[in-house]
């Protein structure tokens, strides 16, 4: 009965994933084999590997949908695009990391393989409808990030954030798993696709199990994506972790968690009457709480932490709009917003990483003072990112918010659209505060700030170009997203 035969493998589907994982292994071997004064070799290997993975993904975009490993890995437009976004995110984080790590006095070569592997975990979350793979993806992503958050060993803040992230992350994983176990009990499989059959033909017992399963899975995923009321860890961890790790955490893990939420909603679509009202309230709370608490903060990384909570709320509105009215609203808005969120958040953290100098780092608003003089290009791009986070045209942040707003109206989620608009206005205050801090002339500690490296400048340049480009070339981008 149990003589299963080996599965058929479609190598192209998992080739990008293999490329990223192998790059990590090779980078670790480079660290072992060639002890050099710099991490140049490792960075080179990592960027080449990511470029290969990106090329494979672009190649995959034009190929038909497929499933391999008995449905554990799948190739579709949504997953491939998000994987591409993750690969780009990882590359951009690597670009500006080296200068920062050297200023922080933590130039460990192990950073790069761990970052690559956590990207791999995030990519797995985007490319699967299997709950086992979803769990493994979450864990590969999170365990790497726990380590990276605590990488600055001599700094208490870093260790404390690693501990908080770890304990809450493990707690959330347990909830996720418990939910998966109920879904398994109801359907007998780990495939999200089998839920609708179990809901319709499984009777009362399956329905009860599925409801609890969905609730527990959403508790777990809400922790990972930072939805209220499971958001408290976000600002703490963002503040304490090394800034380049925070940058990746804010973008990579959020993109992956949103992808997972999307897939889980897709699986549970048949019960959407139950969860759309609840998740709408979650979205309202997430947007409002994130923005309101951000007003009180004085630390830039905390402000951006709360801002990322608010943005998760905006994206949740876009997702709900799709599932409320799947015919009228597609996934383009979600992808577009994630793209613009990734560029502006990553860029902002890259600029903030400039406050590190010879082992110290201050991330209060006043530590940004004088940046206009020391690093004019970085400061200018930070102002662009802030404008985009507020949603001022002609940046991609504006287009993204507008898309979400119109989607929400189209799907009949008017209250959510209103809350979104109000929150956008509230958020102006603290984003302007950050932008203002960079142009204040007098410095708190003159000369105690790092110089922008070439890598950091290129990260800023690429993000700025992306933020404007995504807005200006909106219609070609949309055509590309729709696969035309």
């Amino acid at each position: 009965m149990f003589d299963f035969s080996p599965p058929l493998i479609d190598w192209m589907t998992i080739a990008p994933l293999i490329a990223v994982a192998l790059t990590g292994l090779i980078a670790l071997m480079v660290e072992v084999m060639m002890p050099k004064r710099t991490n140049g070799g490792i960075i080179g290997v990592s960027l080449v590997g990511l470029a290969v993975a990106g090329g494979l993904l672009i190649n995959n975009l034009s190929m038909p949908n497929s499933e391999t490993f008995s449905g554990m890995a799948l190739r579709d437009h949504f997953g491939t695009l998000l994987q591409l976004l993750l690969v780009v995110t990882c590359g951009l984080s690597i670009l500006f990391s080296e200068g920062y790590l050297r200023e922080k006095r933590i130039p460990f070569g192990e950073f790069y393989p761990l970052l690559l592997w956590s990207t791999m975990g995030a990519m797995i979350m985007c490319m699967t409808r299997n709950l086992l793979m979803l769990f493994l993806g979450v864990e590969v992503l999170s365990i790497s990030l726990y380590v990276l958050a605590g990488m600055s060993r001599s700094e208490e803040r870093s260790e404390e954030s690693a501990m908080k992230y770890f304990l809450l992350g493990a707690f959330a994983s347990a909830f996720l798993l418990f939910g998966i176990s109920f879904v398994y009990g109801a359907t007998g499989t780990l495939q999200l696709a089998s839920i609708s059959e179990a809901w319709t033909s499984g009777g009362i017992s399956s329905q009860a199990l599925l409801l609890f399963g969905f609730g527990l899975i959403m508790v777990g995923l809400s922790f990972k994506s930072g939805f209220v009321p499971f958001h408290q860890w976000t600002p703490d961890v963002y503040q304490g972790a090394p800034t380049n790790v925070t940058a990746f955490m804010a973008v990579g893990s959020k993109v992956a968690a949103i992808a997972a939420v999307w897939r889980v909603f897709e699986g549970f679509q048949i019960m959407s009457d139950y969860w759309i009202p609840i998740m709408s309230w979650v979205a309202i709370l997430t947007m409002s709480v994130g923005n309101l608490i951000a007003l009180l903060q004085k630390d830039v990384k905390r402000i951006l932490g709360y801002s990322s909570i608010a943005h998760a709320g905006y994206i949740l509105v876009a997702i709900l709009a799709h599932y409320k009215n799947p015919q009228a609203v597609g996934f383009n808005t979600v992808f577009y917003y994630l793209l613009s969120y990734a560029l502006m958040t990553l860029g902002s953290f890259a600029v903030i990483s400039l406050t590190a100098h010879s082992g110290r780092e201050g991330t209060m608003l006043s530590d940004l003072n004088g940046m206009w003089k020391r690093a004019p290009f970085a400061a200018a791009s930070l102002i662009v990112f802030m404008a985009s986070l507020v949603g001022i045209p002609p940046t991609s942040g504006f287009v993204g918010k507008f898309l979400i707003f119109s989607d929400a109206l189209q799907a009949g989620l008017t209250p959510l659209a209103m809350v979104l608009a109000v929150n956008s206005i509230i958020s102006v205050y603290y984003y302007v505060g950050i932008a203002h801090a960079t142009v204040v002339a007098e410095e708190k500690r003159p000369g105690k700030s790092g110089r922008p490296t070439f890598g950091l400048n290129s990260t800023c340049l690429l993000c700025t170009v992306g933020v404007f480009g995504a807005a200006i070339f909106y219609s070609p981008l949309m055509n590309f997203l729709q696969g035309r």
């Binding site: 009965m1 149990f2 299963f4 008995s70 086992l132 769990f135 493994l136 864990e139 365990i143 726990y146 380590v147 605590g150 060993r153 001599s154 208490e156 803040r157 260790e159 404390e160 954030s161 690693a162 501990m163 908080k164 770890f166 304990l167 493990a170 707690f171 994983s173 347990a174 798993l177 418990f178 998966i180 176990s181 109920f182 398994y184 009990g185 109801a186 359907t187 007998g188 499989t189 780990l190 089998s194 059959e197 179990a198 033909s201 499984g202 017992s205 399956s206 199990l209 600002p235 703490d236 961890v237 503040q239 304490g240 608490i293 009180l296 903060q297 004085k298 630390d299 905390r302």
Partner: protein
């Protein structure tokens, strides 16, 4: 086992999971909190195995191959959860060691550097 209802296993697992959750909320020592999380993971494993053994959704598996896969899926999940738990323990205790090296006290309420 013969004569034991599925509900008994699930109830035990649920009890352990709840105890673990309560423990995470009320205890302050990070190591004990971590042990409570391990307790929760084991409750999950028990649930998976009970469902794999009793297969309450047998009616949804339409042929022998599906039934075979369905029985194994729960066990596979458990074995992967164990592997992941091992990696998590390695990293988690590493973090606890690292933080203890910096300060003598690791009371969770004393972790208060990160504030707004």
């Amino acid at each position: 086992m013969q004569g034991v209802p599925l509900f008994a296993y699930i109830a035990l697992a649920l009890f352990m999971f709840t105890v673990g959750t309560v423990g995470v909320i009320i205890r302050r020592n990070p190591i004990v909190i971590f042990m409570c999380v391990e307790l929760m993971l084991n409750a999950v494993n028990l649930t998976f195995l009970a469902f794999a053994r009793y297969m309450p959704a047998m009616a949804l598996q339409h042929n022998a191959a599906q039934r075979a896969q369905s029985q194994m899926a729960g066990q596979m999940m458990v074995i992967f959860v164990m592997a992941v738990a091992a990696a998590e323990v390695a990293v988690g205790l590493g973090i606890i060691m690292a933080i203890y090296r910096l300060r003598e006290n690791i009371d969770i309420d004393e972790l208060n550097l990160l504030k707004g």
